[in-house]
């Protein structure tokens, strides 16, 4: 136990940095999920066959993007994106560049979750919107997103937790973060105590996120 505390204390700065790196990657990929994934999910919902704004070309492209990104083994996806990452960032290494592939995944995961949640909104709500002469934008903002809001927050929590899991792989391109730290300072240095305690930190972070997500979601739900 003393050994564990000592090795923990000796690495406290590194752990702090790793935590910050994970936070950075999560913040940016979540921002992408909300800013791009949410509209994309709404678009997939509206343009789907039989949807309110049915459009086969738009739906096919968006749906294909989500399916391909989600089925791509993430490690290979990171490698696959290297040319694009280099073109945009000038480097393929470091936390900033590593966030790039994570954003793609965040967008794809959240878009699919958004679509599923919107499919659960009672059809009567869309009927009401139509009868009031709501425009497409009004239907989304004043009806769909209002009724789906607690589910959307809950889904964002799930997406965040998946993204933490995905981010652990990004050590391969120098992304850093808690997963990378546990692997390099714990596993590869045969310091299993440090490895497990880092994993415990990850679990605590996930628990906190999950609890916060549930609380916000419940507070928004009046059904």
């Amino acid at each position: 136990m003393n050994d564990l505390l000592e090795s923990f204390a000796a690495n406290a700065d590194e752990i702090g940095i790793a935590l910050a790196e994970t936070g950075f990657m999560l913040a940016f990929s979540l921002a992408a999920a909300v800013l791009i994934g949410l509209p994309l999910g709404v678009m997939i919902f509206l343009t789907r066959p039989g949807g309110a704004q049915q459009s086969t070309p738009l739906w096919s492209v968006a749906n294909l993007y989500v399916t391909v990104v989600r089925s791509f083994p993430f490690l290979l996806f990171v490698v696959f994106l290297i040319p694009l990452t280099r073109a945009l960032y000038g480097t393929t290494f470091g936390t900033g560049a590593a966030t790039f592939p994570l954003c793609f995944v965040g967008v794809a995961i959240y878009a699919r979750l958004v679509e599923q949640i919107l499919l659960e909104v009672p059809p009567g709500i869309l009927q009401a919107a139509r009868s009031m002469g709501a425009s497409s934008a009004q239907t989304v903002v004043s009806f769909l997103l209002v009724e789906a809001r607690s589910g959307l927050v809950y889904a964002l929590t799930s997406a965040a937790i998946s993204l933490i899991s995905y981010s652990t792989v990004l050590g391969i391109v120098g992304g850093g973060g808690l997963g990378d730290f546990a692997l390099r300072y714990g596993y590869q240095e045969y310091d299993y105590g440090l490895m497990y305690s880092t994993i415990v930190i990850v679990i605590v972070c996930v628990l906190l996120l999950q609890t916060a997500g549930e609380k916000v979601s419940a507070a928004l739900d009046r059904r």
């Binding site: 009031m132 004043s142 009046r222």
Partner: protein, 247 residues
Amino acid sequence: MLQATPVALLDGVTVTYGQATALDSIDLTIDRGEIIGIIGESGAGKSTLLNVLDAVETPSAGRVLVEGTDPTELSARERRLLRRRIGMVFQGFNLLSNRTVRQNIALPLKLQRRRDPALIAELLDYVGLGDYADRYPAQLSGGQLQRVAIARALVTRPGLVLCDEPTSALDTRTTEDILTLLADTRRDFGTTIVLVTHELDAVGAICDRAAVLENGSLMSVFPIAPSARERPRETSYLAHARRVLGA
């Protein structure tokens, strides 16, 4: 009663979906200020007729005039604007569960970037829900929810309100309350009401005329006999059960 231009006029209106004929050459005039019942069994074409009146469904043949305009000559946007002048009440209420009663009633105005808190307060009192303005739909009973929906339909002061099975999800006592509210609405605001229902009692209670649909055809339109108005006023649920079940 005002007998100016009719609120709606259907002339040989036919609606087909592929091979199936949902409405077959319907001729119908809906006069200003009347309450007309559209009755028929499931699949008779009641909902399609309602959608034609709400400018949602475009006839394959024939001519429609709603509030003096032909929806088929309008762009999609103009049809949307026409729909804003027509109120709609649904069987399932279709209220937003994450919005308060007051916000639900204000929604049609909000979509038109209008605000009228005084009118909303007045309507809340009119439907008897003045004390419920800040409640959420989940906290209300079925009859109260339909009152909210009626207030929401009236907030734009529409000349025409379309009701799609408005009492079919309600019990007997509540049904009577909602029908009374609809009849009062016509009396107090001069609103023309189209009541689509399969409940003949409801039509007898408040309608001036009944239009009977069968397999997409309009079989007959006739005035409601005064005797239909005199429905037994049950004093209790027991009295109602006794009358219906014959105990």
